[in-house]
């Protein structure tokens, strides 16, 4: 009898623990921090990337949409800055002139992303005129796209992965900021 009860209770306890880690739509009504991230990310074109990026920052639990937008732009800035460093490092050792040219164009695009697009997005969200933030983030995505296009005729695209993350994350940030309109 005691064994039955304790067994049942243990099963119940374990099941409920699992339930709390599995998204069930009823949970969304309660609006916990984790669910704000999920509901917001559902409205972006790259759900999984969005969730990973936002959740990797502890501030995301309990953040509102504006807060999530801030976190997203912080992540984007970090990734874009790292990619720019990658490009600069590759430029130092690249020998092929066509590769150098493509890398230099990417450096220009990434300079624009880090120096202009992202700060515009941050300023727009914090100061309360989000439409410019949508534009800044969208431009960042398009500039990453343009950087990639420069490698169209290249056999290798060494920064493909980072560039894709910057592109996709920019699109995510643009969608989140769009929600503030």
């Amino acid at each position: 009898m005691n064994n039955t009860i304790s067994l049942t209770l243990l099963h119940l306890a374990f099941c409920f623990t699992l339930v709390s880690f599995t998204p069930i739509s009823a949970l969304e009504l309660h609006g916990t921090g984790a669910n704000m991230v999920e509901t917001t990310c559902q409205k972006t074109p790259f759900y999984n990337l969005c969730v990973s990026a936002l959740k990797s920052d502890p501030r995301s639990s309990g953040a509102d949409v504006a807060g999530l937008a801030q976190i997203g732009t912080d992540k984007l800035k970090a990734k874009a800055t790292a990619t720019l460093r990658q490009i600069t490092a590759l430029l130092k050792v690249a020998k092929d002139p066509k590769l150098k040219m493509a890398l230099r164009d990417c450096a220009d695009y990434y300079n624009a992303i880090v120096k202009y697009d992202i700060p515009v997005a941050v300023e727009a969200v914090t100061k309360g005129d989000p439409k410019f933030g949508v534009e800044g983030a969208t431009d960042a995505a398009n500039e990453a796209y343009a950087c990639g296009r420069g490698f169209k005729n290249q056999p290798k695209f060494p920064i493909y992965a980072s560039n894709k993350v910057v592109h996709d994350l920019s699109a995510v940030v643009a969608s989140i900021v769009q929600l503030l309109l």
Binding site: F14, V120, D129, A146, H167
Partner: protein, 646 residues
């Protein structure tokens, strides 16, 4: 409690395995309960695993891809797409940068970029500009203020720029009128409007974004009313004069209008906002521009339109060909409500009737209400604002024209945005449903030599070059005659779904269109910007005319907007089709049917620049011959420069 350690292996999938050995009367229930919870556990655990496999870890994206780099052809990256500007997922699939054309090795060189700068449109010497602010005429000078970033060619750190002109065309730059130097505008000296009081004094109301990011309304006035240049401005020491009212978000309260008089002699203003997704215009009365009472009702509201920015409210005469001072009301007067929609970056207007007593306005045609009907301009045009020009008794419209290239290019060239040529606004008596916009007559003073082309016959499917010298600064006025026989004979089709934006542009041949002009086109038509009419005939025989501007082949560069802009344009019986185009380097302003439908676009050619730019007539219809008569003037520069010896 019982020792549970033998039960710990339950955390693997088969939760029921250790229970099968027990033999008591309760065994069936225990087994059932255990199996139930066991299966539940299995199910939930499986769900959790599947969920985790589906998500891509932020860091893993980088690592997974590395292995396949060597064989990665660029085309495989079809996941990497240009992103729709301002139209994020769920709103529209259409990308802002329609992918097409070759990418030159170095997209933008200095020659291409410096060509883009306009010759006779207002723009500051460098950096970013957006909304026009507080336009007015005072002591012989037209004033324009504008949203300006003194630090960069992108939006940010916004302050008020200032320029003056005697004729709305030749502008002289003055020092910044207002900086972000008070707590109530530290985060932005945003858009505002001027009101000229009975005694001729000027008051300026503008939105400030405070140190906390709250949008408030502030009062400012000229430091010296005897200075015709109005160089220095003073902010009212006890700003703000208005803060967001209860129920309105601190981020949804901006862009106060010019005030108009109520029948009780008070001043009345309106400020745009939103409640959920309903765009609204709040109304305030004041006697001194310092103390305000908010009216209970709204001027107007339209569900689903989102935030109303840069609201404008003004009277137009149904009968006279002059503008009306902002306070005028009475018989023969209609009122226009205009809003800039934050959600889609377009300016919409509607014509209706204003009730002075309760401060409300009703549209003449609710089906084309504010935000769901007519636009000032079907291209790049936003944050427009009118003012009453008491000098020439007209209502003049300003509009911000942003860039449609990349921010990287803007940064490279060091500037972004221009203002439209100011337009005179009139009620269109002939249709009764539209406003007419037309470049102010002072622009004609820029015309240098003109060339006339009379009765040029353009056969179906042909292109006719027009021999003029240079083609980057032009004023073109063209009229097109069509054989009425051809219109009669054309078979009506259920082509009722034509829309400039979703059409194939000037390359899509229809029975009765497209035909018009190709501007900023090079000799071999590798780059071209068609501005044209496209007529359709419904199955009931009704003709519809569309006025479009096609950017899809405007440039070989891939990082510029390639959309097709345009709209239906009303054409009345007996009217010829007419177009006016102002070409000024990277901006084209096109007016259809005397300004009934207007399209502004930004064009960034790589080849059709300087001496290589040309103009053509074209007719790509299959069943229609068209005859065109036009006059083309070379346009002088407006020599916009700093005010000398200030």
């Amino acid at each position: 409690m019982a020792d549970i350690s033998p039960l710990l292996p339950v955390s693997s999938s088969d939760g029921s395995s250790d229970l099968t050995g027990q033999a008591t009367c309760r065994r069936p229930i225990k087994v059932v309960v255990s199996i139930f919870f066991g299966l539940l556990t299995v199910g939930l655990f499986a769900a959790l695993l599947i969920r985790n496999n589906g998500s891509v870890d932020y860091v893993d994206v980088h690592e997974n891809e590395r292995g396949s780099l060597a064989s990665m052809a660029f085309e495989k990256a079809e996941n990497l797409k240009p992103v729709s500007r301002g139209l994020a997922a769920g709103v529209s699939e259409k990308s802002n940068w329609v992918f097409g054309g070759d990418l030159p090795d170095h997209p933008w060189n200095n020659s291409m970029l410096s060509w883009q700068r306009t010759a006779f449109h207002f723009q500051p010497e460098k950096n970013w500009m957006n909304d026009p602010n507080g336009p007015l005429f005072y002591k012989g000078w037209y004033h324009l203020f504008y949203q300006y970033n003194p630090n960069a060619a992108v939006w940010g750190h916004i302050v008020w720029g200032h320029a003056v002109s005697k004729d709305l065309i030749h502008w002289l730059h003055l020092p910044l009128a207002m900086a972000a130097d008070q707590w109530y505008d530290k985060n932005g000296v945003w858009t505002g409007s001027a009101t000229i009081l009975h005694d001729g004094k000027i008051v300026m109301l503008y939105t400030g974004s405070t140190t906390e990011g709250v949008q408030v309304q502030n009062l400012a006035y000229p430091a010296d009313q005897y200075d015709p240049l109005l160089v220095h401005w003073v902010k009212y020491p006890r700003n703000p004069v208005l803060v967001p009212p209860p129920g309105i978000s601190p981020n949804d309260f901006r862009d106060p209008t010019t005030a108009w008089l109520t029948s009780e002699g008070k001043w009345r203003i309106t400020i745009g906002s939103k409640i959920n997704k309903t765009g609204i215009a709040l109304v305030y009365d004041t006697k001194d521009f310092i103390n305000y009472e908010m009216l209970d009702g709204l001027l107007h509201a339209v569900p689903g339109t989102g935030m109303w920015e840069c609201v404008d409210f003004f009277p137009v005469s149904e009968t006279e060909n002059n503008g009306l001072e902002t306070s005028i009301n009475g018989p023969g007067v209609k009122h226009v409500v205009k809003a800039s929609l934050d959600d889609d970056r377009h300016d919409y207007y509607a014509i209706g009737t204003y009730n002075n007593r309760n401060g409300t306005w009703i549209p003449d045609r609710p089906n084309i209400d504010v935000g769901i009907g007519l636009r000032y301009d079907y291209g790049i045009y936003y944050a427009a604002k009118t003012f009453y020009d008491q000098n020439k008794k007209r209502r003049v419209l300003w509009g911000w024209i942003g860039e449609s290239d990349s921010e990287a290019a803007d940064v490279k060239k060091g500037w972004a945005s221009v203002q439209s040529i100011p337009r005179m606004i009139l009620f269109d008596k002939k249709t009764g449903t539209h406003l007419l916009q037309w470049p102010v007559e002072e622009i004609d003073s820029l015309r240098l030599k003109g060339k006339e082309f009379n009765q040029v016959r353009i056969q179906a499917g042909s292109v006719v070059p027009l021999d003029i010298d240079s083609a980057t600064q032009l004023d073109i006025i063209a009229e097109f005659k069509i054989d009425s026989d051809a219109l009669e004979k054309a078979t009506g089709s259920s082509d009722a779904s034509f829309d400039c934006a979703t059409s194939g542009g000037a390359a899509e041949r229809g029975a009765l269109g497209p035909f018009g002009l190709l501007v900023l086109a090079d000799e071999r038509l590798r780059e071209q910007t068609p501005v044209y009419f496209y007529m359709t005939k419904g199955s009931n025989g009704n003709l519809k005319t569309f006025f479009c501007n096609d950017q899809s082949r405007s440039s070989k560069a891939s990082d510029v907007d390639k959309h097709i802009y345009g709209s239906l344009v009303p054409v009345l019986r007996g009217e010829n089709l007419s177009i006016r185009i102002l070409v000024d380097h990277s901006i084209i302003e096109s007016f259809g049917q005397g300004g009934r439908t207007v399209i502004t676009s930004r064009v960034y050619p790589t080849k059709a620049i300087y001496g290589a730019a040309k103009v053509f007539l074209f007719n790509n219809a299959t069943e229609l011959n068209v005859t065109a008569s036009l006059k083309i003037w070379q346009m002088n520069s407006a020599f916009i420069q700093p005010y000398p010896n200030l």
